[in-house]
């Protein structure tokens, strides 16, 4: 099992903030907008360094999306910042018409995604954002796994032309991907090579997938562990090539099962390479208040549940093989 070291837990949103400041220094066309969450979004450094290129819109997300779309007309590259809930569900039609259908070069940057938003509870814990965004034609959907990857993804989104939804989180989580690792939109990262099962993970669940890999190894199984940081476009060949080797899958994400990364992989597998697959995700329920780690445990989003899902997926593979042999 390849060893990944936590170099010090950090929140992914701070990776976004650092990258945004860097981008501001590199490119005068980078502009940023925020709907009254500058501190939470870690956009204050950019706002301070580039006051002319930072637009505080107030708690008016619909207007923010429209203003961002307008700023692209004139060659600007706007990064909008608010929580995932207010970045997607609240402004779906604005994104749909003024950004996605109009193919505008807006980067919709969303923090506090998922259940790990924590104590604020279900009103703020959107678990549908990836599904909403991936259904829109022209939209690229990225969910990085740690501070370093969020920083790299933000830099990469700026050089990609077209609408991007980039979601990240609130809590401090292990920072383990190399700081100098190149981020290529749409290219899955193979974190560990194994033979028995493939674990596809995105966002905060990637670290848990690595933990699960260690537990499985102790039980005598080896896992391919693949970081799907880009949910759309999905790296189809990376998914299928791994499953040709391992023959069964687990997906793990901090999102609703409907519409998430696992849903994308399931669709691909049904069409092109059907194998047993289990999904670690939230199943058709709203979240609730609590500490992030308590919620992850309660909703079954942790290494333990990934291991159980992997064992189940491997068992189904064996059952299929036995049935097929007869």
């Amino acid at each position: 099992m390849h060893q990944y070291i936590n170099t010090g837990s950090k929140d992914t949103r701070s990776g976004f903030g650092e990258a945004l400041l860097e981008l501001g220094k590199q490119n005068p066309d980078i502009v940023a907008l925020c709907a009254d969450l500058t501190g939470s979004m870690k956009m204050d450094a950019f706002a301070k360094a580039f006051p002319d290129r930072f637009f505080q819109t107030g708690i008016a997300e619909a207007n923010m999306m429209g203003v961002a779309a307008g700023l692209t007309i004139g060659g600007k590259i706007p990064f909008t910042g608010t929580f995932a809930n207010f970045s997607t569900g609240r402004v779906y039609d604005q994104i749909r018409q003024s950004i996605a259908y109009s193919n505008k070069n807006v980067k919709i940057c969303a923090s506090h995604a998922g259940i790990t938003l924590g104590e604020d509870g279900a009103t703020h814990q959107i678990l549908e954002d990836i599904g909403l965004m991936k259904m829109l034609p022209n939209m690229t959907v990225i969910n990085p796994c740690d501070f370093n990857q969020t920083k790299a993804a933000t830099l990469s989104a700026a050089s990609y032309k077209g609408p991007v939804y980039l979601c990240f989180g609130r809590p401090k989580v292990p920072n383990f991907t190399p700081a100098d690792e190149a981020f290529e939109i749409g290219k899955a990262l193979i974190l560990n090579k194994g033979m028995d099962v493939t674990i596809f993970a995105t966002g905060h669940l990637v670290w848990h997938a690595l933990e699960a890999g260690k537990i499985l190894e102790d039980q005598g199984f080896t896992a391919d562990i693949i970081n799907i940081h880009t949910i759309k476009p999905l790296n189809n060949s990376a998914v299928i090539n791994s499953l040709k080797k391992t023959g069964c899958a687990v997906t793990a994400e901090e999102h609703m099962m409907n519409g998430g990364m696992g849903d994308s992989i399931a669709q691909l597998l049904v069409r092109e390479y059907p194998v047993p697959m289990e999904m670690v995700a939230i199943n058709d329920t709203f979240g609730e208040s609590g500490k992030p780690e308590e919620l992850m445990k309660k909703f079954g989003l942790d290494a333990e549940h990934i291991v159980l899902a992997a064992l189940q997926s491997m068992a189904r593979k064996e059952q299929f093989a036995a049935k097929y042999a007869h």
Partner: protein, 281 residues
């Protein structure tokens, strides 16, 4: 510079286009389109005068127009074609399969002259604010115009933008409210009363002007005033009184013509009231 009578002739032709396009498509929104023909013709031919052949989405170095109430697409397409953005015969494809002239404006099919999709209401003023801010950042002194419907002001996003523009001192922007008092379900007053709109807009910090949008001389006069009021720290908004269905007697001021196309008989009757001046498509 075209004379007022030349602009009037163009408007008549544009109105003929609107009737013929909506009749041919058997769908569309003739009422508001007819009402705003004089304004849009005057804006493009007398004021903006963009370069139709050098069209770019970014529009750097030229004035920009955004149609927030995208259901008025027929009048915009006609004015764009008559201005030279594309051939007038393409107007015959309006709302038909594989056309660049979608029911509501879109850039998906690459129609020159259009920079963003609109039609789902309430979004255009925000977009116009963004485009105006980009012009400011680019040190581009050209202006941004945005037409919104009065019924469209029901949408809350407008009020977010109406608060935002004065706060940001977006003073290279002219918003125009098509103040025809009609929306789909009836008079604006009955559907959701706008109350004292002028007082509301002024209290939000806009420089508010009024004009009669079915009189080209008044449009020219008031747009000149509007432009002279720009670059003084405030955005300008014009409450433009128009008549829905202007130019066709049986459509005049009747909200029922918001989104109903004329049938063949009605089209014939309407066209008899609108002189063909520079040639049908």
């Amino acid at each position: 510079m075209p004379s007022v009578s030349a602009l009037q002739k163009l408007s008549s032709q544009v109105r003929r286009d609107i009737i013929r396009m909506t009749n041919s498509a058997a769908s569309g929104h003739p009422g508001g389109a007819l009402g705003t023909a004089d304004f849009l013709v005057t804006l493009y031919f007398e004021f903006m005068k963009p370069d139709p052949k050098g069209f770019t989405t970014d529009g750097i170095g030229e004035d920009l127009f955004f149609l927030s109430n995208g259901h008025l697409s027929a009048v915009w397409y006609s004015v764009l074609a008559r201005y030279g953005y594309f051939e007038i015969k393409e107007l015959g494809t309006f709302r038909k399969l594989s056309s660049r002239l979608q029911g509501h404006p879109s850039i998906h099919e690459g129609l020159p002259g259009i920079r963003i999709a609109s039609g789902s209401l309430g979004q255009g003023l925000s977009v116009a604010c963004g485009a105006a801010l980009a012009k400011r950042l680019n040190k581009d002194n050209h202006l941004v115009y945005c037409l919104v419907g009065d019924g469209e002001l029901d949408e809350g996003q407008n009020w977010e933008a109406l608060m935002f523009a004065p706060d940001r001192k977006i003073d290279n922007l002219v918003a125009i409210v098509d103040y025809n008092g009609q929306q789909i379900d009836g008079p604006v007053k009955n559907v959701l009363d706008l109350g004292n709109l002028k007082a509301k807009l002024e209290s939000f910090g806009w420089r508010v002007l009024e004009m009669y949008g079915n009189d080209i001389q008044d449009i020219i006069k008031m747009l000149r005033i509007a432009i002279s009021e720009l670059h003084k720290g405030k955005p300008v908004i014009i409450m433009m009184t128009t008549h829905m269905g202007f130019g066709v007697d049986f459509m005049l001021d009747n909200h029922e013509w918001h989104g109903v196309p004329p049938n063949d008989e009605q089209a014939k009757q309407a066209l008899s009231q609108l002189p063909e001046t520079i040639g049908d498509y």
